[in-house]
């Protein structure tokens, strides 16, 4: 039992340390402040609309704009924060040589990496909570009803970030600078959002009858199956304006959570595989 506690304690301390370290990063704080300003500013923007249009429905238009602006802000700034933090935690420690001090202690690489990954997740969750919290308050002030669907939207957003974070983290483990993993993280997000194209390539393949065309189609199909498809999380924007108790949404949310967790584990295994081979 004591051994198990020690195994858990080590990563937890590293996670808390990573989290504190993350709070000191100016870039992340900058992104966070900017996103909070945009969310806060959404209400000003909608007041302008309020003056511009007439009728009872205007209030709903305000809400719609606030929701759209805030969900987009959370997605954009959230993903930037996720990529920056996931890409930098390990390379920075290698650059500062802090990693040597930590690994010389009775901490296994697995524990160290798990702690770092956990720390990254704590930072992402904290940022999401701050942004989501402000959005929640803004929405509550406007509509005077607790926006519970928003919580589901933010919850799903986290699992989308979790996939990007895990894969970026894996690339960061192979790099000694945070620049490359940051760029890679952005690519992961962009390609993850465009994975549907691969299905399209598959659907259109074979039309020319050339073997190469068919081969490309099969490759695209395999990649479409294997690569994480972030577009599946578009449900987060869909539910924010939908009616409560929508049967497909109720089924899709847990399915997407499992999907996010599986790819996060894949990312973490990849990260560990790379990291354990690395000479540090």
């Amino acid at each position: 039992m004591q051994n198990l506690l020690d195994t858990v304690k080590g990563p937890w301390f590293i996670a808390v340390y990573t989290w504190r370290e993350g709070l000191r990063r100016k870039t992340l704080v900058g992104f966070l402040v900017l996103s909070l300003l945009v969310i806060f500013g959404a209400t000003f923007m909608t007041s302008f609309i309020n003056q511009a249009t007439v009728g009872d429905v205007t209030t709903d238009m305000d809400l719609k704009l606030i929701k759209d602006i805030c969900v987009t802000t959370i997605s954009i700034f959230g993903i930037l924060i996720t990529i920056f933090i996931s890409a930098s935690v390990v390379p920075t420690e290698i650059e500062n040589r802090v990693i040597y001090t930590v690994l010389s202690k009775p901490v296994r690489r697995f524990q160290y990496l798990f702690g770092k990954f956990l720390g990254v997740q704590l930072i992402i969750i904290m940022n999401l909570c701050l942004m989501g919290g402000l959005f929640f308050i803004a929405l509550y002030i406007k509509q005077q009803i607790l926006p519970t669907l928003l919580l589901w939207s933010v919850f799903l957003t986290y699992f989308e970030f979790l996939i990007v974070s895990a894969l970026t983290f894996a690339i960061a483990c192979a790099s000694s600078s945070s620049v490359l993993p940051t760029i890679a993280g952005l690519f992961i997000y962009i390609t993850g959002s465009l994975t549907e194209y691969l299905k399209d390539v598959y659907n259109r393949s074979g039309q020319s009858g050339e073997w190469f065309d068919t081969l490309i189609g099969y490759i695209a199909y395999i990649l479409w199956n294997i690569l994480p498809n972030l577009q599946r999380f578009s449900l987060k924007t869909q539910i924010i304006n939908s009616q409560p108790n929508d049967p497909p949404t109720d089924v899709l949310i847990p399915q997407l959570v499992i999907y996010g967790l599986i790819y996060a584990v894949c990312g973490y295994i990849l990260a560990y595989w790379i990291f354990r081979k690395r000479e540090v």
Binding site: I49, A52, T53, G55, V57, T58, D60, M61, K64, L65, D68, I69, V71, T72, S75, I190, S193, L194, E196, Y197, K199, D200, N203, R204, N225, I226, P228, N229, L230, Q231, R232, F233, S234, T237, Q238, N241, S242, Q243, N245, D246, P247, P248, V251, L252, Q255, L256, I258, Y259, I262, Y263, V265, C266, I269, L270, Y272, W273, R276
Partner: protein, 480 residues
């Protein structure tokens, strides 16, 4: 454990999770497909139930929605009956299609429909739907993001990395700007773009329809009936104003297909367009009834009951108001409308008895019937008196005057009757036209001279509802 073994274990674990990811991805994909199918069922069910019989819907051979829905209904009804006998109500007098459309219309059946959608037995129909969707053969609910993404390489779904909704909102700001610049014709295509980007942008449908039906027509003058043109699509006589009304109706109907569970769209279609603009009370009642079938605000019911009353459905309106009073005892409007409908029911029954009595040969029976009618009229009078005195409603006064006038008319005292009616029409301006028509009728019957405006009204009526290009068979039915 050696390094090589650890690598193998890691590789196996990684591969296992990738396989799990692929499996889970396929599951999510399956549910997304089912979601697309489910949303289409709701859309086409709404179309079948509400718009199928209405005039003006474009029917094209290109689309197979209704054929597919017929197939689906034939398969769904036996399945539903075998599994959910207690919860799903099926009327044997109706076709499977009508029954299924009615089941879809009830919001409490949503979980049942969803369960049906994901069933193995539905697999072939689901696939047929998705195939047709990709081939562009589905008219309703084409904007489902899942299939749209597969339809073509470059499309609006991927273009914004999933941020379509914010794009739609930003375009809406442009619509708003054009509105303030008076560039109405630029607004319409942009509004359509907005709802294409975000089919769930309910406010865009509402405000768009409001711009079209109200703001665009505010400065337009009424087109005289004979200058209106027959519209094949809407099967109605359409002038400049009516064109905008029908555009607004089409826009709201599109919104309803994409958002069949949103009361606001039904309410605006029924109240703002059909009642306020078109004076089409049967359609107003139809859509307001739909509005109260889904979660709604309390004032929606009030408008439904008012429209039912105007449409002559006094019994339904009375029942509704009584229920409303039970639910909201503090509401000051309900007691007034309960009295109004009670009074009208008495009057209506009295009229029916008089009509029946006129046909009866037996004098004794005839006298008995007439006495019954008089008794009902007396009860109606008491109600109007109560409405006037207790509720302080001028409508009570108006109805009393109307009854007085009709009694005078029945006695052949036409001039006095007209004088009372003249007073009555000023008591209730909302019934001005109705009473004016009655005055004209009495004057014509009594060979009394008409005023200039009355003569014009008679001429207008003589022209009838005919308009340019109107088919002969439609003349008797009347339209416009």
């Amino acid at each position: 454990m050696s390094d090589k073994k650890i690598n193998i274990v890691l590789l196996i674990v990684f591969a296992t999770f990738i396989v799990l990811g692929v499996y889970q991805g396929r599951r999510v994909e399956f549910y997304r497909e089912c979601e697309a199918f489910y949303r289409w069922i709701l859309a086409v069910g709404t179309q079948e139930r509400l718009f199928q019989t209405s005039e003006g819907e474009k029917k094209s051979d290109k689309f197979i929605d209704l054929q597919l829905f017929a197939k689906l209904s034939d398969k769904a009804i036996p399945l539903l009956l075998s599994e959910t006998k207690e919860t799903v109500l099926v009327d044997s007098a109706l076709t499977n299609q009508e029954n299924f459309a009615n089941i879809i219309g009830d919001i409490s059946n949503d979980p049942v429909i969803w369960k049906l959608t994901i069933k193995k037995e539905m697999r072939d129909l689901r696939e047929e739907f998705l195939k047709s969707l990709r081939e562009g053969k589905i008219e309703f609910s084409r904007n489902i993001s899942y299939v749209e993404a597969q339809k073509s390489g470059v499309n609006i779904f991927n273009l914004f990395f999933g941020f379509r909704k914010i794009a739609a909102s930003l375009i809406w700001l442009e619509v708003d700007r054009y509105w303030h610049q008076g560039l109405l014709y630029r607004m319409v295509p942009l509004m359509r773009t907005c709802v294409t980007l975000d089919p769930n942008f309910v406010e865009a449908y509402l405000i768009g329809a409001w711009h079209l039906a109200y703001n665009a027509t505010a400065k337009l003058i009424d087109t005289p009936q004979h200058l209106k043109k027959w519209n094949l699509k809407y099967k109605a006589c359409v002038g400049e104003k009516e064109t905008f009304y029908y555009l607004a109706i089409d826009f709201l109907k599109k919104g309803i297909r994409h958002n069949p569970r949103d009361y606001k769209l039904y309410f605006d279609l029924g109240f703002a367009i059909y009642k306020n603009k078109m004076n089409d009370y049967p359609n107003a009642v139809r859509y307001l009834t739909e509005a109260v079938r889904v979660p709604h605000e309390r004032w929606v019911r009030r408008q439904l009951y008012i429209c039912q009353e105007t449409n002559g459905q006094y019994e339904e309106a009375l029942q509704g108001w009584e229920d409303y009073k039970k639910r909201f005892p503090d509401n000051p409007v309900a007691p007034r409308f309960i009295l109004r409908n009670q009074g009208k029911i008495y009057e209506k029954n009295a009229q029916e008895i008089i009509k029946e009595a006129e046909k009866v040969v037996d004098e004794q029976l005839k006298a008995k019937r007439m006495n019954d009618a008089v008794s009902l009229k007396k009860q109606a009078r008491e109600i109007w008196q109560k409405l006037k005195e207790e509720e302080n409603d001028p409508y009570g006064d108006y109805r009393l005057l109307l009854m007085d006038a009709m009694e005078l008319y029945n006695e052949g005292r036409y001039l006095e009757s007209i004088a009372v009616l003249d007073k009555a029409r000023w008591e209730s301006p909302s019934n001005f036209d109705e009473v004016s028509d009655l005055i004209i009728r009495i004057k014509q019957e009594a060979n009394l001279p008409l005023t200039v405006s009355e003569k014009k009204a008679v001429l207008r009526k003589a022209e009838g509802d005919r308009c340019q290009g109107m088919p002969e068979e439609m003349t008797d039915k009347g339209s416009g």
